[in-house]
Symmetry: C2
Subunit: 436 residues, 2 copies
């Protein structure tokens, strides 16, 4: 773990851990980063007294050298001649700490401090923010998740298994009435959780209000007839005043969840939504590839998550095993485990959020998912994996639920499938498609 074996974090400081790659001596490069992100600039200025540096300077707490390479991972400007013509690019993990007084418990200022200009520094041919360790002041300044894992479960009264979810597909193109029709089928099939696609927000062919007005009566009627509560995450990502209006409309219609694409709404917008939200906030991470695709630049989910958890989302997407994207199974599981790891120690809230598995998911990945996260505290979303089931939507939901039964009972998928035809069909249909 990035902060292992360091002294306990003082209440008035914060820490960040970075992976770096640099042709400069490690201590020199780390000092440039610490200076750039606190009181220094490229030349020492008259006002930068020793006292000021002592009070406001960032401190390099630890440098752990890793491997070295002969080619830079990222292009940089021309290097000083003193480095010679065949520099080596040394990699390391470094821990830097800042006085909280530099920024206060502000997420915006935190991001500018730990993930701001430093990524552009020419001293680095690689730089990734790996993790953050924040003082309790952040837990006091921000609301964090309102519902989180337990609150979400109690809204739906689902225990002992994940919420089985799906995404309205096609992502866009259905109008409000067609969406409601699909919701009706999904409810009949026994789904727990439905979400809008991140592409479906408030476009003219399916406006948010019309969608809420079409979908919510179907959900309310289903609940009245069956006694089963379900959750629909309406994508209300929008401008500030519009999001409040959307939220209020969802609440007035009896909804229990709104969704935001966190990166497109932004930190201030999400924290603001949390300040009045009466329902769970489902956090979608569209655009995550920008931060995660390159091994040489970006951010790990355990750092990135902390911003949105403090801002107040209740659920956070983590991709899924054997997904249709490029992310490795290892980082998917790491992100999911980070979601449920407390950010602060008791008595402060841990800000745990429910990880959302999604992307080419079906019954096929359930056993490995359960093995990876060791818990059923998650939302397991299948789009094509439910709606593309050869036996239809009901068989799709059934197959995923059966897969979780098998996993939590410690039975093999194949053995369980022998007596559960929906699961058997799912295995046959999705396994080749996903591994193609």
């Amino acid at each position: 773990m990035p902060f292992a074996n360091l002294p306990p974090l003082p209440r008035d400081r914060l820490r960040a851990c970075y992976w770096i790659e640099t042709p400069f001596p490690l201590a020199e490069a780390a000092a440039v980063l610490a200076g750039e992100q606190s009181c220094g600039t490229f030349t020492r200025l008259p006002g930068e007294t020793d006292a000021l540096r002592a009070a406001a300077g960032a401190i390099v707490e630890r440098i752990t050298a890793l491997d070295a390479v002969s080619q830079p991972s990222l292009p940089t400007r021309s290097l000083p001649a003193r480095l010679g013509h065949t520099p080596r690019y040394q990699r390391a993990e470094i821990v830097v700490s800042w006085p909280l007084a530099n920024l206060g418990a502000s997420l915006s200022a935190l991001m500018a401090t730990v993930a701001g200009n430093l990524f552009e520094l020419r001293e680095f041919s690689g730089l990734r923010l790996l993790d953050l360790q924040l003082p309790a002041a952040f837990a006091h300044a921000y609301r964090g998740p309102q519902f989180g894992i337990r609150g979400t479960r109690s809204l739906l009264d689902v225990t002992g298994r994940p919420l089985i979810g799906t995404i309205i597909k096609p992502s866009v193109g259905l109008d409000a009435a067609a969406t409601a029709d699909l919701v009706r089928q999904l409810l009949a099939a026994g789904i727990d959780f439905i979400k809008d696609d991140e592409l479906q927000a408030n476009g003219p062919h399916n406006p948010l209000r019309a969608r809420v007005d079409a979908v919510m009566p179907v959900i309310r009627s289903h609940e009245q007839h069956t006694g089963r509560r379900v959750m629909y995450a309406f994508n209300i990502s929008d401008e500030i005043e519009a999001m409040r209006a959307h939220h209020d409309h969802v609440v007035a219609a009896g909804g229990n969840c709104v969704m935001v694409t966190v990166a497109t709404v932004g930190l201030a917008g999400v924290a603001w939504l949390r300040s009045f939200s009466q329902v769970a906030i489902h956090g979608h991470r569209a655009g995550w590839g920008l931060l995660s695709r390159s091994p040489a630049i970006g951010m790990d989910s355990r750092a990135w998550q902390q911003f949105w958890r403090l801002a107040g989302v209740d659920h956070l997407h983590v991709n899924g095993l054997r997904n249709k994207f490029s992310e490795s199974d290892e980082t998917v599981i790491a992100a999911a485990r980070a979601c449920v790891r407390p950010m602060f120690a008791e008595p402060d809230p841990g800000c745990e959020v429910m990880p959302v598995f999604s992307s080419a998911q079906s019954a096929e990945q359930v056993a490995d998912t359960y093995r990876g996260i060791g818990s059923t505290d998650l939302i397991y979303c299948c789009g094509g994996g439910i709606m593309g089931h050869p036996g239809g939507i009901a068989s799709g939901v059934q197959s995923v639920r059966e897969a979780w039964e098998a996993a939590t009972q410690g039975q093999s998928l194949e053995a369980y499938a022998a007596t559960h035809p929906a699961l058997a069909q799912a295995i046959q249909h999705f396994r080749p498609a996903v591994s193609a």
Copy 2:
């Protein structure tokens, strides 16, 4: 230009241009991207009818093959066996268009559509969003810059040369009184524009209100005594309600500019600030390295800019020539030129913003900057390049102003320096430091 030789953009569509790298046939990879970002998913679903695809599907408008490489720029999941064991990774520039009806004129939905999940697609070992072409509906839905270039100039009554600016340094560590002292010196030295560092927001050692209360009387007094107006960009990046309070406090104190770090506040927050702002909005791009450092993943500034220009910033940072960061001079100039290129045709507003040059700037880079952008419509910020001038702050400002006089009069820096000692000192002091 990315959209050259295409038919005029219809009023009901939008276009994006990407650089891609893929081991798959180009048409196949482009179709995956178009499907993922409109109505498709990894498996064809019952609801995805031909009519729906025709109405809501994204269209690949053009594929221009570029070079090919034998190694993928980014790691991807294992590839289908049919591609063989030694695939080539073909690069191309592709243009994709979407029906506006999929999303409406929403910046959040636009970002989810053109810069969302696609970056994670395993079909690509490289993917960059290069440019956007938006229909006028966006110009009607968003306010865009309120002051822009002309408005900023008229707030200060500066013509015929750039605004000569600086950043309060040390970035953090000075309290409000020390900041005001420094402002007093800068005003006496003839500065046009002063900004907070992006790290200085509302921390406990220098709260925004205290800073405004200390700085603004100095600025007002200076204006009363000299008749010269200056601009101070107070960094109000914060939560939604706090930003309004900060803004109102700046306005009440007679300020004329607020600054936001756009990526840390987010799209919804910036557009919201613009909805009531009475002063210019200075857009800082801390974190830009996350999108710009890797040649294989990210976004070009001409695409990225458009979001923030529509949201309503008046100024936008573009780095500077021979900066302390890793960005090339070529992309700096490209970003600056993009700032002043109209986003929409007459009679709709062009949403031009003032480019802000900053990062290790001094008199030394002026001639090349003027040559690159061909205009003085910019803010030229020097931190160390003014405050670190060996003759002091007044000589620092003087040297930058003289360098612009030389450039706009078509004289060489050296010739002009022969009769301008502050400039001569700057050249001697900064040239070696910057090229080191």
